[in-house]
Point group: C2
Chain length 413, copies 2
Amino acid sequence: MGRKNIKIGLFGFGCVGFGLYEALQKTPSLKTNIKRICVKTKNKQRPILNEHFTFDKNEILFDNEINTVVELIDDADAAFEIVKTALQNGKAVVTANKKMIAEHFTELLDLQKKHNVPLLYEAACCASIPIIRNLEEYYDNDLLESIEGIVNGSTNYILTNTSLKNISYNEALKEAQEKGYAETNPLLDVAGFDAKYKLIILIAHAFGIVTSPENVFNIGIDKLGELELNYAKEKGYKIKLIAFAEKKEDGKIVSFVLPKFINKNDKLHSIDDVFNAVKTKSYFSDTQFFIGKGAGAYPTASAVLSDISALTFDYRYEYKKLNNVDSLENDNKVFLKILLRYDLNSIDELKDYFIELNESYQNFNSGYIIGVISLKRLKFVSTISNISVVLFDVVKQVEFVNKRNLNKSLEVA
Amino acid sequence: MGRKNIKIGLFGFGCVGFGLYEALQKTPSLKTNIKRICVKTKNKQRPILNEHFTFDKNEILFDNEINTVVELIDDADAAFEIVKTALQNGKAVVTANKKMIAEHFTELLDLQKKHNVPLLYEAACCASIPIIRNLEEYYDNDLLESIEGIVNGSTNYILTNTSLKNISYNEALKEAQEKGYAETNPLLDVAGFDAKYKLIILIAHAFGIVTSPENVFNIGIDKLGELELNYAKEKGYKIKLIAFAEKKEDGKIVSFVLPKFINKNDKLHSIDDVFNAVKTKSYFSDTQFFIGKGAGAYPTASAVLSDISALTFDYRYEYKKLNNVDSLENDNKVFLKILLRYDLNSIDELKDYFIELNESYQNFNSGYIIGVISLKRLKFVSTISNISVVLFDVVKQVEFVNKRNLNKSLEVA
């Protein structure tokens, strides 16, 4: 089979864009070239000749010679407009923009179908880890039970530094930004939104369910404090920001993004710095791990390169599982064992939200409760200021040994 | 795109065959069924109805209704005859037989081409880890630098037990066989042949080079003794059987199977029991790991299932890199830092084979030498009885600090 000739129009020439440019130079066998690069800022010193650049997106979007658009800009709204027009004009698209995909999943599926063109986005999930391709191709059956992953490189870098170097959260964040591991808007990373966008993409390819950001609950690492960091240290845990999705027996999906205590026997325990890892669990093959760098120009560029290469063989996602009619589980039926740290709020009020209490601790300025709470109540509790939440695990069997007499006023339908 | 209808003729109904049977029951969406199963032994109690079975291979190979042959028997020679006839008759084939593939690679490539039918064999390499698919699809470029892996589940199980439970090598081997993790002929596993067959498959898909078993050097774990096991323990290493292949700058491939000291910072250190792991290193994406169960009925069956599913979408390996003209590196130009343990052989004679000596130790009944040796000389040394070899690393820069005056009679052209 002959390889298709790819002529690229590139949007964005930040560190990933330049990384891609270099990667293409290193892969002559791909016989692919970048015809034009659209950038925003004029009069900026750039590492390659000015003649390659344009400031007018239409010079790419309406150039018939360009058959592939690679979109690597920051702004998700502008990215969507570019991708949409490109697909409408029959161009294949490669993008790394998880926010854009998660927010416009259904439209992007429709556009691909209507205009019969592929949209690939391996770089949007865990940079260099080929997880979408594996969910799409290798786990294209009904046997996948769960995915759990460290999917955000910058928070993992921050957490690693906070725990290993004993520096503060703010210092670690600053260092991550200086190294180019954190997004321009740090809240996207540290509050767990970036991880959530990736989880939404993973859920679509793992379980065939398209959902939107407001349906998946996320807590980030930005509220983590000394008490729970020390708790983790004392018990031999590490805290990692985890994106989780699991298919229950009735086909319903449980999903969230939460900081989680990871014990030493879990292979996720050794995933530090900007490494990402996705753990899959399936009925017959048991647990599998995909590990690789999840942030940085080159790892991201290498995933983009792989998508471009796949296009030369007319590859496209088949979205084989999308016919599944399964849906998200009711938050009221999801139970989580968590540690809830509070700063001298009313502990008694907080206790009432738990369906089971296991431990509580208090010193002169803060305390924690360990117990089981429903996801629905956790969503509410998480809006209280000065609290922090770390997950132990999803509680599968709702057999609560110390089941409390629930406060009637908090009962949820 | 519609899915192709698959009607299977299955050869072999051992634990993997039965695992596949169960997996197919669990995946109704695949709409695939097994029409007939060919087995060798008559009058054996089997978990499903007798009417499914035949003892005549031609009842599958010449049944026009069967479009896919799944070959899961032990005997590599018999397997090749089955696979060959199936391909000649235009049937797609899925196999898990690494020995058969490694020994007949070129013929199998020719048969696929001539009869325009796919042969898939994900289960032949690291059972449940989708490594062939990833090498084929995701690393389909020139940027892959090396692959290094724990690719044999039973030796890893034995090594884990030997080191953790402090039981002898023989006890650990017996336990592995009882659990069904070791092949019928244990030498295939413990002497590193199974790992070598897998490495040959990996090299073809990673670097586009087809080589044969006699060209890849292997030392297994069957000669490991107390001295080097204790050495590892004292230094905080684990010994793992490693399959290694690396592309040098001139395109030449260095490859071998050897026991290797793995230090705590290497993610391969935590790969225990029957888990396998493949570490890839590529120019831009840095280090990546694929981890999963590498032995056992279900993990293997799940890989076979995935291949069957891929066939419903007309998937086939493109062998995209096979045009590469690179070849294996001259053994004389490959330098390895090793520990060589001997049982009171003539240490002086052994020392002469080393190009650099770093350490030596001797007690009343055995001793070891640590130093740098060429692969060519190692091949010769390994034929001496009562020695054992553990790799530290490939030596890249041949800048020997303590370079010896080589014994002229051992100089190799």
